[in-house]
Symmetry: C2
Subunit: 151 residues, 2 copies
């Protein structure tokens, strides 16, 4: 077990982030040393597009909330790693229900980290894949960097 926010949440010392609760986030397994995670989501009818499928943006949110925790499991106390860049490819439609997210840390830099993830439906079919870049920051540094104009 680690000591950062992710582990505090798993241990019940910190409440689940609202975004994760909204997405029906549940941990299946995590290996911080290997940088891998498997989680599940409960896509509700509130996430549906006009065709009744889960809107792509919510699938993106789930992928972000799979890759983010894979990295979060490696963070120490007071560290945070906001996503800087997220690229999602939608392979097939997903219906409301349980979806499974798998992600791994491709490269764990001291600050810049590269992540990849995939989302599967209840039948194990690949729904969407994603890559993301995140940056490890302390709470103070995070606020300073992320609330200032960029580039």
């Amino acid at each position: 077990m680690g000591t950062g926010l992710f582990w505090d949440m798993l241990a019940g010392r910190t409440p689940m982030p609202p975004a994760a609760a909204t997405l029906g986030w549940k941990l299946r397994e995590v290996d911080a040393e290997a940088g891998t995670i498997e989680v599940e989501f409960e896509a509700t009818a509130a996430f549906a597009n006009p065709a009744g499928h889960v809107q792509g943006g919510f699938l993106a949110a789930m992928l972000d909330d799979t890759m983010g925790p894979a990295l979060a499991a490696t963070l120490g106390p007071g560290q945070f790693a906001p996503t800087l860049d997220l690229h999602v490819q939608f392979l097939r439609v997903a219906w409301p229900g349980t979806l499974v997210g798998r992600a791994s840390v491709v490269r764990r830099g001291k600050q810049v980290c590269h992540l990849k993830g995939e989302l599967l439906d209840g039948s194990g079919r690949l729904v969407a894949t994603a890559i993301a870049t995140a940056m490890v920051q302390s709470g103070e540094r995070m606020n300073r960097v992320r609330t200032s104009p960029v580039g």
Copy 2:
């Protein structure tokens, strides 16, 4: 006024898609001929990450629900244009509250369409930008293509 699903929704002939309602989607202005749209969202506390900011994935969902409607406004009855690919860059944090989405259709192909969008906070500061690729399909074709294995 057009004749597709987007216009049916605006006219109240079709209910708002659940995903849009969940994101607090509201139209500010749309110009189907120019391929531009401006919408607003209401980011609730339910979208927050552990730091209290809107989780990046929900910002991605908002961008998808800005670019998608920019294209949807150009569609005819029975047409639908799922997002195939979404790439988001997160420039600064956003807090729960009203966010503004702007998007335009960069190229409106017969089938393949290229879109771009941006998300601003209540002070008009750029929060995130995105590009997306979408594919215009009829209902039948959509189901056939999107529920079959890809690649």
